[in-house]
Every structure is written in C-alpha cells, then in structure tokens.
Amino acid sequence: MLDLQILLIFMIIAALIAVKTKDLLSSVIAIGTVGLGLSLAFLILKAPDLAIAQLVVEILCIIILIRATIRRDLPFSASGRWIFNTMVTVIFIIVFLIIGYICIKDLPQFGEPIMRVAQNFLNNGLRQTGATNLVTAVILDYRAYDTLGEATILFTAVMGVLAIMRNIGRKK
C-alpha cells in the first residue's frame, strides 16, 4: 500500500503546518488540506460513501471556521516555564507512541480482517433488505437505532448553537 503511506505522510506534513504557523487563516486552510487528503484516503480504502460525506462536511467546517477567525489575529508571546512544559508534553507523547507501537503488534495483519458479524451482513444483506448498497442497509435497517441517536445529536447541536448565540446583536 505505497500510495496510502505517501498520502498519510502528506497529511502529517499538512497537520504540522496547521499546528505551527502563526497566521490563523493559513492554519484553517491547512486543515482543509488534511480533510481533503482524508477523503482521498477513504477512496483508496474502498469506502465511497465516506468519501462523499467527508468531502462535504469538511467544506462546511472550513466555512464555519473562517467565519470565526477572520480579522481576529492576536500576537502571542511565550510566558514563563515554557521549556519545562514543552519537555513534559514531548516526553508524554513519546511514551504514548512507544506504548501504542507495542499494542499495534497485537492487531490482526493489515488486510486480513476478522469479520464475524459482517460476514452475516454480506451474505444475507441483499436478500433480507432488498438494498444493494450494503452500508445503507446496515445504517438504516440492521442498526437503525444508531441513526436515531445521530439525528438527536444534530438536533441538540442546533438547539445548543441557538441557545449560545441569543440576546445581543441578533438581526433586527
């Protein structure tokens, strides 16, 4: 999977640029690049539903973030105890990566999944639901209760945004 590894290295470089630059608009554009790279990675991993959804959701997130950051740059200076904080964080992340590497060795080999539940869905999906898109059959027939939970989350997000941005400055 050489193309997948090159794409992941590109995403890591773009994420480093998004973290390190001081201009807010440049970092929002860099995170847009990470999202588009993720959509390409979903296409390489044979998941077309997710590629469409990730692309359009990424565009909407960039529009919302640009609205929040435009004309609002502030220069920052490093406060005291900066070296100590950075050293502790870097040591923590190195320990996390070492433990993560030890745990990854126990996963099944990349490319040979254990599909105990999904084999049942693949064999009987077309006959029991009549839908040829098996991902839609899973989210709307075999696991429709999770879709109800997701609709509730979207509703709660809309109510939360309306409750936060009430009162002053609404349109007359």
Binding site: P48, G130, T132, N133, T136, A144, V158, K171
Partner: protein, 151 residues
C-alpha cells in the same frame, strides 16, 4: 434575483451562482433518492442541499436570501423531518419490533425497492439540511456589539 452592487460579492460570482445553484440542489436530491443503490445516502445528500442554500447566502448577502427562504420555514422542515422519521419507526411496532421494515422489498436496482429505506433517507436529508442551514444563519448574523454591553 436583485442585483444590488453594494451588497454581496462581485458580478462574476453572482452570475455563476445564478447558473449553478439549481444544479447543486438537483444533485443533492439525486444523491438522497438513490441512497440504496449507489453510494451516498441521507447524510451526505442533506449536507449538499444545505450547501446550495448557503451558496446563495454567501453570494447575494442576507437580505436577498431572506426574501427567498425564511428562517421559520427552515425550522418547520427540520421538525417535519424528525417527526416523519419517528412515525415510520413507530409504525413498525405493529408488525414486529421498533424500526421494522414492513413495506415490500421489490427487486434490486429499482428506485422503489427495499421497503422503507428511501423514505428514511428523505426524512434524514430534510432534518440534516435544514439544521445545518439554521446553524450557519445563526453564526453569520451575530453582530458585533461594543465590549462590555450586556443584555
């Protein structure tokens, strides 16, 4: 649409928006309605429908948009989408269990196949599209007041 040169973006953006925003809406409806045959489904299609209305709002400014689409209409559609989803799920209790798929299965690769799944997709797309449009309108219309003035 009203062509006020002071509001919204330049003339090139307005002309292209007039030509393409109907096609974006039609493409979103296509992805929603063919959710059980080809990749797509209710969520991605709903976001595309919301993006077509956001496109009108970004290109023409907010006064012109609110003459075409009011906020109360968007709130009404979001509630209708949720009510249709719950009602179709409750109707399955009579047949067996919650979310039971009781309509005819049909033959594969047709538009009217696989029971309730196309109706679920349309209800989800109404809810997602209207909800995301309301979020965007609320974040844009927040006007800056002077710091320190409350309530």
């Amino acid at each position: 649409m009203i062509d006020d040169p002071k509001k919204g973006m330049t003339l090139i953006v307005k002309t292209i928006t007039r030509l393409t925003v109907g096609l974006i809406l039609l493409f979103g409806i296509y992805i929603v309605s063919h959710g059980h045959i080809s990749p797509g489904g209710g969520f991605a299609g709903g976001v595309i429908v919301a993006l077509s209305f956001i496109h009108i709002m970004l290109a023409f400014g907010k006064e012109t948009t609110f003459k075409k689409v009011k906020e109360s209409v968007a709130s009404f559609f979001e509630s209708i989408g949720a009510i249709i989803f719950i009602t179709l799920a409750m109707l399955g209790i009579g047949g067996g269990y919650f979310f039971f798929n009781f309509l005819a299965k049909g033959e594969p690769f047709r538009l009217f196949s696989s029971g309730l799944i196309p109706l679920y997709n349309m209800a989800i797309s109404l809810k997602v599209g209207a909800g995301l449009f309301i979020i965007f309108v609320t974040l844009i219309l927040f006007r800056v007041s002077k710091k320190g003035e409350e309530e």
